[in-house]
Amino acid sequence: MSQSYNRGLVEDFGRWKEFSAGMWAWIFHKFTGWILIGYLFTHISVLSTSLGAAGNEAAIMNEADIYTTTLQGLESLFLIRLLEIGLLAVAVFHILNGLRLLMVDLGVGLEAQDKSFYASLVLTGAITVASVPTFLTGVGL
């Protein structure tokens, strides 16, 4: 044996088609986790820069304060509405899969871990679809 051959990382994500349920659950969980962290920081930056009218009762009553106008401006964008639906989907999946992982950590129902992953996917889909009317009312394209 003079040398050996290292195939590098090709067996990892290059073979995504062959991943099983548990692997997909792990990938989605990481992915949604990172999105939620990203959202958290955007959320903080939007809110903290929109607080200019704090204390100005009159402006708030007239809905003319920075906070209200910022949010109204954002909510009038179709893209933002779509992103909200996406955010809901991401958060719901992360919560449901988090519960699944909690059960896994407690050693409950490990033999059904693939089914619980599919269940959390289906539930996420259902909740997301059901939320569409709520998120898309009163917005023009």
Partner: protein, 290 residues
Amino acid sequence: MSTQQAEPDTQEAPEDPAMKGAESPAAEKQKGGDMVDERDESQAEFDGETVHIKVFRYDPEVAEKQEPRFDDFHVPFEKGMTVLDSVMYARDEYDSSLTFRHSCRQAVCGSDAFFVNGKQRLGCKTQISDLEQPIRIEPLPHQEVVKDLVVDMDHFYDQMHAVEPYFKSEDTPDASKLEEQRQSRENREKVKMSTRCIWCASCMSSCNIAAGDNEYLGPAAINKAYKFAMDDREEEDIKEHRLRILEQEHGVWRCQTQFSCTEVCPKDIPLTEHIQELKREAVKKNLKFW
């Protein structure tokens, strides 16, 4: 090299089954007098179904094989044929340089774990009829390839030995009395599945975490540790010592419950379950309420 029949022509069995006889006249001649009969026989076999396998080839010592490639073989199908049978046929009939480990052929020795159609499987336990063709047969991922389907297992064995995989009880019975150290039925039942491990390294190869963290003990070693940590006959402080090994940075906590190992284990050991149980044991050991 020339004696190994490794020229590109003879490595590939022909697509057309009828051409088999014409394909390797040299080999046929070597067989001598009863050549005609054998030829008829193999002809008859080839009139039936054939199996198309694509086998990973690599050999740093042979010029043509230094660049890894796949070789196609068409082997006659037989009822009950396994992946190991097909590569053995390819080696015996087409290319004697085709290299792979195998021994018992009944899923006990654990030497013929391959990466078959994108999944770690035991060659001798995988039915050809369960697979989609062409069947891709590769060496186990995440282990360096030594030659063809043979991978370097040293790292895997190191990890297995790292968990001190042997029974050690402080009060061994008096040898003169020839007493046995009996295990209760319940306790035996608890560790039963973990004892099934055949050290084939399928789990280690399937583990995404083990691939990224070379020091991670891996599912097989943790399972091995589980067998002893859960054994009632060992004293409490020995169990604690075992948990100390397992709860280290590259121990049980590396597991991110992807279930890949449990998915591929040819002996159906609930590896993730065992790892999770050891995680809980490790937490319980460290929790103190005062």
